[in-house]
Symmetry: C2
């Protein structure tokens, strides 16, 4: 892990770093010195590690919960080179878009390839970040990522015993169900009732497949990108319930 | 409306009353003097207006939100005489139970009859309670009732323009869908993924039928009575978001 730069805005530090080829960012309270939980934010397919929506969620988890929060760019996103393995899927997606056809199946199949590349990068990121004094290995790790963030998040949470709670959703596909069955930690699963990319039934099936006894589906009307903002509030509370509480004097 | 008794426990008044034939109860902060929102609690099929679960929810809405909260017994419940109209359904339910067959369809059809009796009683209760100085007509009315509480709540919320937000769920049936389509206020809809009384697909269809633009489904694993307690916390917050805020000095 190599730190590149550090800035401080309104009490939140933002440190850019790389782990191997992956460019990352970690946010924390300015005074962070003691160990604390780490939440990983997996960006969506039209986003990247410092997209406004990702940063806004990170700031809330830092300022309201006292956590450290990290994001990395998935290979092919955020300016990273597009892996050759994506090329057939990208060609297929171009044709589907031109023909006005549904994209979910091709997105999900490309997501399998993205996950194979990104899961080891996330695991190396957890290794590096939990070795820092102000995060540490004991505070618990959460994962929050929907759509592409769940194409990667479902296999990541299934594979990674350090992750103790996850917000997932806005996706459903048969390629994710085997991994979903191996997830046992508390899960919040978001679904958009009128999702034009991943049909409702696919999302319901993926929620059903998740192995956790403690899992909750939150479904709202509207399309793929129309999740109401109150679900962000609710996800912040979800992590507060499942990761360790940070006492405010240690922020 | 006739008040029968009043008790005070830990800062919450509990007043028993009758409106016509309906026995009711209204809870409020001990110092309540100014107008405030009113939340109606519709009990479930194995409950009544002062069942522990109903009282616990009422106390939370009073002590955390400052609301007035009312419950009435549905005809045939809480010691009220069983209406003759229920008899064929009760006979059918007895046979289904003896045969180990699913009960949801018969419950829902009996619920249509119960709603026809109970909706006018709820409306008379709203009339009477919003005429009191310490509730008043302007604070907004919420409804919170699942299972039997939604067999009655769905047609009540559809018919009653004074109700501005509702927590519904744990039911689904074709007999409720026409009324559901007429509901336009914010709705929280609870569903149990493994509901043994109302199949998942029935609940999903009823959520889908609700006409509101602002509606959220919360689905959790487990059977009909296994809704996690964190959904109670979440429902209390739902009303806080949608009904008027009570400033603490007026409690």
């Amino acid at each position: 892990m190599r730190f590149i730069s550090q800035t401080l805005t309104d009490g939140v530090t933002e440190r850019l770093f790389t782990v191997g080829d992956a460019p990352g960012v970690v946010w924390a309270p300015a005074q962070a010195a003691d160990p604390r939980p780490l939440v990983l934010l997996g960006h969506g397919g039209s986003q990247h590690r410092t997209a406004p929506r990702v940063v806004a969620r990170a700031r809330r988890l830092v300022t309201e919960n006292g956590y450290a929060v990290a994001a990395i760019d998935v290979p092919g996103w955020g300016g990273r080179p597009v892996p050759a393995e994506y090329e057939p899927f990208n060609a297929e997606l171009g044709e589907l878009i031109a023909a006005g056809k549904p994209l979910g199946d091709a997105f999900a199949r490309r997501g399998v390839v993205a996950a194979a590349l990104a899961v080891p990068e996330w695991q190396a990121t957890i290794d590096a970040l939990t070795a820092l004094d102000w995060i540490g290995p004991g505070g618990g790790v959460g994962y929050w990522g929907v759509s592409l963030g769940s194409a990667i998040g479902v296999p990541l949470v299934a594979a990674e015993p350090r992750i103790g709670a996850a917000v997932l959703g806005l996706i459903g596909h048969e390629t994710l169900e085997e991994a979903a069955r191996r997830i046992t930690v508390p899960v919040r699963f978001l679904l958009q009732w009128d999702d034009e990319i991943f049909p409702r039934e696919w999302g319901l099936a993926l929620f059903g497949a998740i192995g956790s006894a403690d899992k909750t589906l939150h479904a709202n009307p509207g399309g793929h990108t129309a999740t109401p903002t109150f679900e962000v509030d609710s996800s912040v509370r979800f992590f507060r319930r499942h990761l360790r509480k940070v006492t405010s004097h240690s922020w």
